[in-house]
């Protein structure tokens, strides 16, 4: 008998009532969002059709469950949501029915049955200070669980900025010594899907890519280039206002009402690489800038400590007034001292100056 676990992705989708047309539409959408040519759509469809539902072990460490919320709640049941249903999610604190020993047993069983083939999804950072005691599950530290689980994994997907870069738990002063997955996992491929939270379609898109063509092409921060290849600023619908020099100066002035650029209000769009401006949120409704607030750069490393959400990128972040004041005073004092010294030299030179007459010169010549 074929159990639900043995179904291919294509079969599983059909049991969910997804038509062939709907399936191909999803493949086309996946191809376009991953910037693949249309000719790759049949390849995606064929690969997805045949792909075994991968076993996914989802580890939640120092996180807020926002990433899971993003994935499960933001959409009305959609095909991206369903592709997530058709993976075999064998372990996930928040979503699984089992608890206690039974839950841990599920993780061990999945690891044993799919050794070398399962995907580990991590959300949340891992505390390493004081032996990692700041976050434990079933008596094990997050660090121990991660090492144990990753050992037999095919790949690790770090979902959310905490797992990808340390995120909020790692923000200054980082009391728990929180680190990202990629700082700990060196021997397995790690895909970072940062964001606070990340865009749900991006998570399912990366899984689809993994099933069809293997790991996607990554940028220097380990993010899939297809989704993190362009900055928010370059794809922002308010970009023309930036170029025209039309800026909102406060959140309630005329400029803000007219939808002008939020650069001066601290928008981090120019330095933030993510797909929000094109894929948008809440079923494609809008994204933060469209709602009237600047981008806070949540998919970049250390976004929490990157100089203040409301400080424009051009503004200095330090407290330079005191230093500059001292420098002005020191410069003036030293300049005056040096000036006085020069004056003295002048005076001395004047005092020591001997007048030379024509007679003196003649004498010098004859002597």
């Amino acid at each position: 008998m074929t159990t639900r676990k043995d179904l291919t992705v294509g079969e599983a989708l059909r049991t969910q009532g997804i038509s062939r047309r709907g399936f191909l539409k999803f493949c086309a959408a996946t191809a376009s969002m991953m910037a693949l040519p249309p000719s790759s759509i049949p390849a995606i469809a064929a690969a997805l059709e045949k792909a075994r539902r991968p076993s996914v072990i989802w580890l939640s460490f120092q996180e807020c469950t926002g990433c899971t919320e993003s994935l499960t709640r933001s959409h009305a049941p959609s095909i991206e949501g369903l592709i997530f249903n058709v993976i075999s999610l064998d372990y996930h604190h928040t979503l699984q029915a089992a608890s206690g020993d039974a839950a841990e047993e599920a993780r061990h069983t999945a690891m044993k049955e799919n050794d070398g083939k399962y995907i580990v999804v991590v959300d949340g950072s891992i505390p390493v200070k004081d032996g990692g005691v700041y976050s434990t599950i079933a008596g094990m530290t997050n660090l121990e669980i991660l090492k144990e689980t990753v050992a037999g994994a095919a790949a690790v997907i770090a979902v959310g900025s905490c797992a990808a870069f340390g995120g909020l738990p790692a923000a200054n002063p980082n009391p728990t010594g929180a680190v990202s997955v990629s700082e700990l996992v060196k021997d397995k491929p790690v895909v970072n899907i940062p964001g606070c939270p990340p865009i749900p379609v991006v998570i399912s898109g990366v899984i689809a890519h993994f099933l069809t063509f293997g790991l996607p092409e990554l940028d220097n921060l380990g993010r899939p280039k297809a989704f993190y290849g362009t900055s928010i600023h370059d794809r922002c619908y308010r970009r023309p206002f930036y170029d025209k020099g039309l800026f909102a100066e406060t959140f309630d002035d005329e400029g803000a009402k007219k939808g002008w650029c939020l650069y001066k209000l601290g928008c981090k769009g120019p330095t933030t690489y993510n797909a929000c401006a094109t894929m948008k949120w809440n079923n494609g409704t809008s994204f933060p800038i469209e709602a009237g607030h600047g981008c806070i750069g949540c998919s970049e490393p250390q976004f929490w400590d990157a100089g203040g959400f409301y400080k424009a990128l051009a503004e200095p972040t330090g407290n330079f007034t005191t230093t500059a004041g001292v420098a002005v005073a020191a410069g003036a004092a030293l300049g005056a001292a040096s000036g006085l010294l020069n004056r003295n030299k002048q005076k001395q030179a004047g005092a020591e100056h001997e007048t030379v007459t024509a007679d003196n010169l003649e004498k010098e010549q004859t002597s």
């Binding site: 600023h233 250390q302 330090g318 407290n319 001292v326 420098a327 003036a332 005056a336």
Partner: protein, 220 residues
């Protein structure tokens, strides 16, 4: 050091250091110059020195007489092109004005970025033309020192990195923006101690020349 740390450093400590050295240097140089004093003017005063001084500060923004213009048209065009270009690029680009406002509290209207972009290219072309001239003109080449070439480079770098950051060339925007800010900080540090101090002392020097000429009753 990653992109974020680099950008944070140049916007934070790097900027503080550069600004401190810059204002320290400017104060030092001005104090030194002013404390030197001048010899008392013994000749009879023949005209209004103050008025002549003020006039000279502004009149020398204009190109010299037509003969000079004809003789050194290249220098006049490239020189003005690069100075005007720098002025537009530095002061009339919105993010730059935002920085100046956050530091000094002074603000003014800015230009659309495609116009600033045009002036950026103009500035770079003029700077390159001036370098070419310095390298090919035998007299100018003989008179040029290492400092001259270094100052050309240090002036050119912020314009180039700014252009590359805006157009996302070679590096990601964050890295390029960081390099751009760093290059400006280098420039700020060297300004007080090199010939670039002329951007401040020129007003004093012009006023003084005009003042002396005015007192003597001659045209400045």
């Amino acid at each position: 050091m990653n992109e974020v740390n680099f950008l944070l450093w140049v916007r934070g400590i790097g900027f503080d250091i550069a600004l401190a050295i810059f204002v320290f240097g400017i104060m030092l140089r001005f104090m030194e110059i002013l404390w030197l004093g001048r010899k008392p003017e013994l000749a009879a005063v023949r005209g209004n020195g103050v008025a002549s001084g003020m006039r000279t500060v502004f009149s020398r923004f204009l190109p010299a007489d037509s003969n000079t213009l004809k003789r050194s048209l290249f220098m006049v065009v490239a020189g003005y092109g690069f100075h005007i270009g720098l002025f537009v690029v530095i002061f009339l680009f919105a993010p730059h004005a935002e920085l100046i406002e956050s530091v000094t509290g002074l603000s003014w209207p800015t230009l659309p970025s495609p116009i600033v972009d045009f002036f950026t290219v103009l500035t770079m072309l003029a700077l390159m033309a001036l370098l070419w001239r310095r390298l090919t003109h035998p007299v100018l080449r003989f008179l040029s020192t290492g400092e001259d070439y270094l100052m050309l480079l240090l002036t050119f770098l912020p314009v180039l990195t700014g252009y590359m950051a805006f157009h996302h060339l070679f590096l990601s925007y964050g890295w390029m923006l960081g390099l751009h800010i760093l290059s400006v900080e280098l420039l700020l540090i060297v300004i007080p101690f090199t010939k670039l101090i002329h951007m401040f002392t020129l007003f004093m020097a012009r006023w003084y020349s005009g003042f002396m000429a005015g007192q003597k009753g001659v045209q400045s």
